[in-house]
Symmetry: C2
Subunit: 316 residues, 2 copies
């Protein structure tokens, strides 16, 4: 029987008191997401279905910054972005700045499967969501106490400084993303990524998570990758695809390509960056330069493992 | 004195009666865009300024599908997308589905230079446009007789078939983009791309032109690239960045990397794809698989040249 594998992440970034006091909850959330995706793979389901299920599970979990629990923008609104890609045919789907959609990853999948388009944003994406009757929730569903408090702190800070630039200064400090990559029994790869954006960002900010090739990339010839961290750093490096390009054009293994990317292409990175990746042999690769990255995996060869801090701090 | 170079394109796609009857107008438009960009480079201006000026010139020209003359979506609205990238620092800016902004490329440049963000979409992008007082125009400014007729034809076709899928069938048949790449006296590269989208597309369709790494990519270590053609084909191949990745990881010249990309990575492409590229030595590379690609260049070494049909049909 062919190997199967799934890896998930819940964002790379700085450590915080909020994380420290919710470690068990975060680990449980990662485990649930892995289990949901892995079960689909075990039953012969597709990698696309598995990454969707894993990301949905993280979107539904209020601890993670995607779906329920998304960050609030500077207008105190939740705008979400997601992308998904199938390694078999290189088809992809993405949505940007959608509101009220319970699972943005499922809307991205519907764009991939049910339209001639790849990427829909804003009101147009929401019209499509209504057209296909995808589950919607009121604003209050998405806003958690923690994200509201974070917003209020940022708003007061921005207001207190009474400078237009203050807003910018509080931007992008926190970031969160969720994502999954999978290999199914048929040897097909898939990747999906979803985010609630960055706290107190401008209305209409499109996240790197919504960009195929940058947030998510999957290609059966190489690997599937989902990235996380600071948008600027991730976009500058065309992160998800770059891992695949290094594998292909330098003829390296997934692990060597991942290390090369992190050590050579990210050595001067002025910000957090991380990614999870899987190849068609079921090898999983995880790299990050940040204080923590919520992450985990389960494969035909390896028991489930989840961790938050760097390898030296976790029993991997 | 260091070399300078600029190349522009006005879209790759199928030939049409409209193109055939406007050949001189299209060539004049390409020449004007090249001249505007080249003058900036001659005076020591930056590659970023040169590509902005060239793209603005094409956006202002009603013959090209960007800015004035943009395609109408299925709601008869003009929604425009643009991206710009600086090869010196890998900074980039992008806007998606903006309305009424006279020059989307200038808004993308403002996102790059004046915000902490990289990519803004829809209403948020338009709030930012108002904030910085960028020139706006009423809807009527953007809609040309030709694009309105094209819309009407598509609408009747979609309506006549009385099938939801009919809309999809008329989508993506026509496409148009404009773009520019440049090398300045300081050895810096830049790329910019702008589009009015595809005729009769869904509201909220985000074009590949808005995606850094796919529509536009620039890196002083390799090259600057602007792509055009069918969104799906371009996104699947992470087109702009892929040319750079092939140069870097296969250690090929710009010309060899461009040929390799077109011959190897696009040999099975089920759609139109094309790109213009320039490296830090002022070499220009142009490739496309479509019936025509509006394109041209001028460099320190070569006189201005513009063409529309494949090399064998044009005196290059």
């Amino acid at each position: 029987m062919n190997k199967i594998a799934i890896a998930v992440h819940g964002g790379a970034g700085p450590d915080s008191e909020h994380i420290k006091s919710n470690i068990e909850g975060y680990k449980k959330g990662l485990e649930e997401a892995i289990s949901k995706g892995y079960k689909i793979l075990e039953k012969g389901g597709s990698a696309v279905e598995a990454v969707e299920a894993a990301v949905k599970s993280l979107e539904d979990n209020p601890l993670f910054n995607a779906g329920k629990g998304s960050a609030l923008n500077s207008k105190a609104e939740v705008e979400m972005c997601s992308s998904i890609m199938s390694g078999k045919d290189l088809n992809s789907g993405a949505v940007a700045t959608v509101k009220n959609v319970k699972n943005p990853v499922s809307l991205a999948k519907a764009v991939m499967e049910e339209t001639k388009h790849i990427f829909l944003g804003g009101r147009g994406a929401m019209s499509f969501a209504e057209e296909i009757n995808i589950p919607m929730e009121p604003d209050s569903y998405f806003i958690t106490e923690y994200q509201y408090e974070t917003y209020e702190k940022a708003r007061k800070e921005a207001h207190g400084k009474q400078q237009p630039k203050a807003r910018a200064e509080v931007n992008e400090k926190m970031h969160g993303t969720v994502g999954a990559v999978a290999l199914d029994r048929n040897g097909n790869l898939a990747a999906a990524t979803s985010t609630g954006g960055t706290e107190y960002c401008k209305e209409g900010r499109v996240a790197d998570s919504a960009m195929t090739g940058i947030g998510s990339y999957a290609n059966n010839q190489t690997c599937a990758v989902s990235s996380t961290g600071e948008g600027e750093v991730i976009i500058q490096r065309v992160t998800a695809f770059q891992v695949s390009a290094i594998m292909e054009y330098m003829n390296l293994s997934l692990q060597d390509a991942s290390s090369y990317f992190m050590e050579e292409k990210c050595k001067d990175a002025k910000g957090d960056i991380g990614f999870i990746a899987v190849d068609t042999e079921g090898n999983v690769s995880i790299e990050f330069n940040s204080e923590r990255m919520h992450r985990g995996y389960k494969t035909s060869d390896k028991e489930m493992w989840v961790g938050i801090y760097p390898p030296e701090a976790e029993a991997e």
